[in-house]
Symmetry: C2
Subunit: 204 residues, 2 copies
């Protein structure tokens, strides 16, 4: 089996194609992504839901066509992610504005809504034959310094974007990650009814 | 124009159907949702990406078929949301486990990854002719108490799920929300290149 067959979802109940086919590869092909496809990815993020329609998300993005910017973004990943993400033709940093624009108070949904936007981006990638791999392992202080990120904005995630590559291009420890299924908890373990930990009768 | 035409995305660049058609209605129809459709919604959440595949999300869910549980969930919404969400046949609370299972430390992606899972749920809703409206306005302490939510788990969002209703069923101040377009910032305001606030050349 190829990584695509191994790693994509094995749903117990029917789900939409984009959701069933999304997974986070380690191997990326040496093939650039068209600018118009990248615009569609960020457009998908743009239309995510957000609390008070704050749209707290921002992205710093670089492609290998601009080596200087690419290197800057790449250098903001932790070492474990630099071991593979440098093969992706596009790297981004996901940031979120922590405070509400209308009153300056902490937006409890700030991180949550960045997650929604990036999820939509990752699904749009599938629609275009691309894959996105999100990482929490970044160096936020380095992002702040290199890109002059203002106070009140939290750099939170890295995102590698590109076409699927050959896992043979990876070091052994990473190769096995692209060739090992990643399961999920059953619904009964996270969809609850009358009380925490008590599975909802809806999930069978 | 009907709310569907008014409220759905007006993208500047092509995006997938599910993403373009997702929006958060206030008016819901008095029509139950099939259990199998609800299973697909949570299945979509289940396959979201998460840091270390922690899957920190959990949901407490109730339908109007179980009035006691439904009332309990409903009572955990803030007053502003109780003004409309009680028309939805399904209500859920989105919770996230704040600490990593493997070392007990704070998972920086906990809220983010709940956002990803709920975004996938909301898109799966569109695939089934349903809509989901997420709310940050809940009473977390009441959720903890009524549903015995353990320490280390944060109740974060409410989610109303159902079929679109007639905005005429809403009070005037809410009706206008279902009949007013909700725009988004242009890409140039949140997709940055070499420095924060400097639009990426990729977005045109």
């Amino acid at each position: 089996m190829n990584p695509e067959e191994i790693r994509r979802a094995k749903p117990d109940h029917p789900i939409a194609y984009l959701i069933a086919h999304r997974w986070s590869p380690y191997a990326f092909a040496d093939r650039p992504v068209a600018d118009e496809d990248l615009r569609s990815l960020f457009e998908a993020a743009r239309w995510a839901a957000s609390s008070y329609n704050e749209q707290p998300w921002s992205y710093i993005v670089a492609t290998r066509a601009d080596p200087e910017s690419y290197e800057k973004v790449f250098s903001c990943l932790v070492e474990g992610n630099r071991a593979w993400a440098g093969a992706a033709p596009v790297l981004a940093i996901g940031c979120t504005s922590l405070n509400h624009k209308y009153n300056g108070k902490r937006n409890a949904a700030a991180e949550h809504d960045l997650g929604s936007a990036s999820a939509q981006m990752a699904l749009q990638a599938i629609a275009l034959g691309l894959h996105a791999h999100q990482m929490i392992g970044i160096l936020p202080d380095r992002v702040r310094e290199l890109f002059h990120v203002p106070e009140g904005v939290q750099p939170l995630t890295g995102i590698a974007i590109g076409y699927l590559g050959d896992p043979a291009s990876l070091r052994e420890n990473l190769r096995s990650r692209d060739l090992t299924p990643k399961g999920r908890k059953p619904l009964a373990e996270f969809v609850f009814g009358g009380s925490w930990g008590e599975k909802s009768p809806l999930v069978g």
